[in-house]
Symmetry: C2
Subunit: 120 residues, 2 copies
């Protein structure tokens, strides 16, 4: 069972976390081959990364792809997220957990910024 | 003269700021009708927002579009950026300065996340 987990930093401002959840909900309107899609937070909201992964596995996920909802390759992307993932991976050696490139690494970013610029 | 100014938060980690500058440089490869494109930072790197706007105006910009390179509509997007822009706007009443919707508000975000997910 293929599962997509989008990981955001998490904010003290709950509306920001809800915004991420809303983006992830919009996946339901897209064509894709994931059986389930969910959100987890590095900090400040729930589920955290281990909780998000364990929920996925309990729901039957055998193949999990994590996308970091981050704009730059800072410590959170390069160290914190991989460390949290590694802590779960060792307990579930039969589940494939992969970390995709973070959002800001997308080569479509200029195109999206341009679309936003043309909205005004 | 049409000018696009992408505004990022700015990071203590200079490589993150360089990443934003690189994304903005990629604009040169896109089709668009801006005469110039540049980056400014809310904090922690230069130029700051007033400096970025004044440079644009000194270069002849008459029509400036700002795109906030932010993922959520927090205080930075809703208050800090508009306040910085207003501080410059009052000195240059003949220059049109508009703030476009921030990056995270793009309805193409799910599609981009999906593209990233399919990279692994």
């Amino acid at each position: 069972m293929k599962y997509l987990l989008v990981i955001a930093h998490g904010s003290r401002r709950m509306a920001s976390n809800d915004e991420v959840r809303d983006v992830v909900r919009q996946f339901e309107l897209q064509e894709h081959d994931f059986d389930r899609v969910a959100t987890a937070f590095l900090e400040l909201d729930k589920p955290d990364i281990p909780q998000g992964l364990i929920t996925a596995i309990e729901q039957g996920a055998t193949d999990i792809v994590i996308v970091p909802y981050f704009l730059s390759a800072g410590r959170h992307v390069s160290e914190d997220i991989p460390a949290e993932v590694a802590s779960v991976r060792k307990d579930y050696p039969n589940v494939m957990i992969k970390i995709a490139p973070y959002l800001g690494a997308s080569d479509r970013m200029p195109e999206i910024l341009l679309t936003q610029a043309n909205e005004v």
